[in-house]
Amino acid sequence: MVRLILKRILQAIPMLVAVSIISFMLIQIAPGDPVSAYITPESQPADIELMREKMGLNDSIITQYLRWSSSLLRGDWGYSYSNHRPVAEQIVERVPATLMLMGSALLVSIVSGAFLGVLSAIKPGGWIDRLVSLGSNIAISIPGFWLAMVLLYLFSLKLGWLPSIGMRSIGVNTTTDLLKHMIMPVIVLSFQDTAIISRYVRSRVMEELKEDYVLTEIAYGAKKSDIYFRSVLRNSLLPLITIVGMSLPRLLSGAFITESIFGWPGLGQLGINAVLRYDYSMIMATTLIASGLVILGSLLADILYGVIDPRIQELD
């Protein structure tokens, strides 16, 4: 098991290096120039050239990449051009909010998706099944930002039940307040995965019910609910780990959009603002951290697989 984890971690390192190279190159290709953030209409061409030289923009791309990556490793992530604070400091501030949002959305979509999936597999074609199927069709078809707008209109503007923006009300520091702020972003972020997971679990459970061990359990007097929610669900969840692992990038990009709609002070909001302001070191840092989170997520998925399925540890 330990070997399996170590192996996966070692595999993750070259992936991170590749991601850093790609995100660095993408910035090079992108239109615009870091210097443009500093120049005013009065700037002289000589001043601009001096600035370029000072920022190291005249060096070769490889030298620039090595300089950037080695300072990353030393913990120096550069300064944000827009607010002149260290990038690393701001990222550290923002990551927990994003993780909280993503984690809650993931939890909600797995739990409700698995529950709805099992419910509809108990009686395929029954009214629960048809209702869940209709619901997931709708959920898969509607875009997240649209749902976000509708929810905002309904629950914040019309009914006034939920706060429309931010993570906490100013001057309030209670969990209830935080949860209230979370409800809508989490719904928007989780509804599509809930639909996908429920469909997947439904078909997996129906397959799994044909297995011999299910007959054994019935023949030894197990309750239906035990069979569905204990034995069969656990067996069905295994491949779900892979599905969830693969849905992480989508979830993260969804978090970027959701965060900017609901003004959630996370990584996504930080990244999008950085893009709008040509804040280069911030863009690269958020890209890198986002990819890092995705890689970490699939690493965790692999490890989780080994924990749940004893046969994987055997293979190792």
């Binding site: 011999d212 054994t216 030894y220 034995s231 046969r311």
Partner: protein, 326 residues
């Protein structure tokens, strides 16, 4: 003597949109205490369906009629709560493929103690001790450690031992073994059958052993039932049936049995067992029978006693002319 388990005029039909399959057609079986009853037949003869209907294990598409009783209690009329109490506790079952009949994601201890706690109302520790005891009794060494292993860490034969331990730990009145050795190789098969016999004599319960292998029946069972097309073709004490097989189907099965002694070649029964899609009106073996007579094409033969406790369903027997003595 009163039977422990009685099945009377059991009919099982599977109804789908396109057709109805007549899997079991008027089966009656009595199982007495401390006996091993063998049910023999080819695939599709309805033997497995028949025993699964005893515990209500058939899918919802099955239409079941007839009387099934454990002692005095009618199993076919039970509510689901009582039926769950019977399953495992009174009638335990072991299945054909030990590789797949245990849940791969739970340890043996998990699966055994859950069943023991459910039926014997022991606490976790008591259940665990009982599970360990039974693992030892079915011949698993190092039982304490093995208990915490997963099914994939056991070989096929060992898994079938685990299944037997799980069944026996509840001291059921009836053990139904549905082709328990079909998926195992021959040496393991012998051990497992020996174990079932040993358990039966130790615990003094009754066993229904389903198999397609006459050799298994000869070595293990006291009485036997030969099934074909969802009906009993012949039934009697193992010694009687083996020495005087009266039904052409039983004779055919015997001829297709490998034997070292008589030096004859194997003689297969021509054709395949057909699955009935209409209610059988004639002997189901008719189209494969080498000895059919004109009466066979007119009406269904009835189960007739040719000797005490030896019953045969064949028109030839009615006419007294088919005792092929070996």
């Amino acid at each position: 003597m009163k039977p422990i388990l009685t099945v009377e005029d059991l009919h099982v039909h599977f109804v789908s949109n396109s057709e109805t399959t007549y899997a079991v057609n008027g089966l009656s079986i009595k199982l007495y205490s401390q006996e091993i009853l063998g049910i023999v037949g080819e695939s599709g003869s309805g033997k497995s369906v028949a025993v699964k209907s005893i515990l209500g294990l058939l899918p919802e598409t099955a239409q079941i009629s007839g009387k099934i009783a454990l002692g005095e209690e009618r199993l076919d009329q039970l509510n689901s709560d009582r039926l769950r109490q019977i399953r495992g506790k009174e009638i335990a079952m072991i299945f054909q493929d030990p590789m797949t009949s245990l849940n791969p994601l739970f340890t043996i201890s998990d699966q055994m103690t859950r069943v023991i706690e459910r039926h014997l109302h022991l606490d976790k520790q008591g259940a665990n001790e009982l599970a360990e005891l039974w693992l030892r009794r079915v011949g698993i060494t190092d039982a304490k450690r093995r208990l915490n292993q997963y099914p994939h860490e056991f070989s096929g034969g060992m898994r079938q031992r685990v299944m037997i331990a799980m069944a026996m730990s509840l001291s059921p009145r009836v053990l139904i073994a549905d082709e328990p050795t079909t998926a195992l190789d021959v040496t393991i098969q012998k051990q497992i059958l020996g174990l079932i016999r040993q358990m039966e004599s130790e615990v003094q319960n009754s066993v229904i052993l389903i198999t397609h292998d006459l050799g298994v029946v000869a070595n293990t069972c006291h009485r036997m039932v030969v099934m074909y097309g969802g009906m009993i073709m012949e039934q009697g004490n193992v010694s009687d049936v083996f020495s005087h097989p009266a039904h052409p189907y039983t004779q055919g099965l015997m001829d297709s049995l490998p034997s070292e002694n008589n030096g004859r070649h194997l003689v297969p029964i021509p054709g395949q067992p057909a699955i009935a899609t209409t209610e059988p009106k004639l002997c189901p073996f008719l189209d494969r029978c080498p000895k059919s007579i004109s009466t066979c094409f007119q009406k269904m033969p009835v189960l007739t006693e040719i000797k005490q406790d030896h019953l045969v369903r064949c028109w030839l027997v009615e006419q007294g002319g088919n005792d092929e003595t070996i």
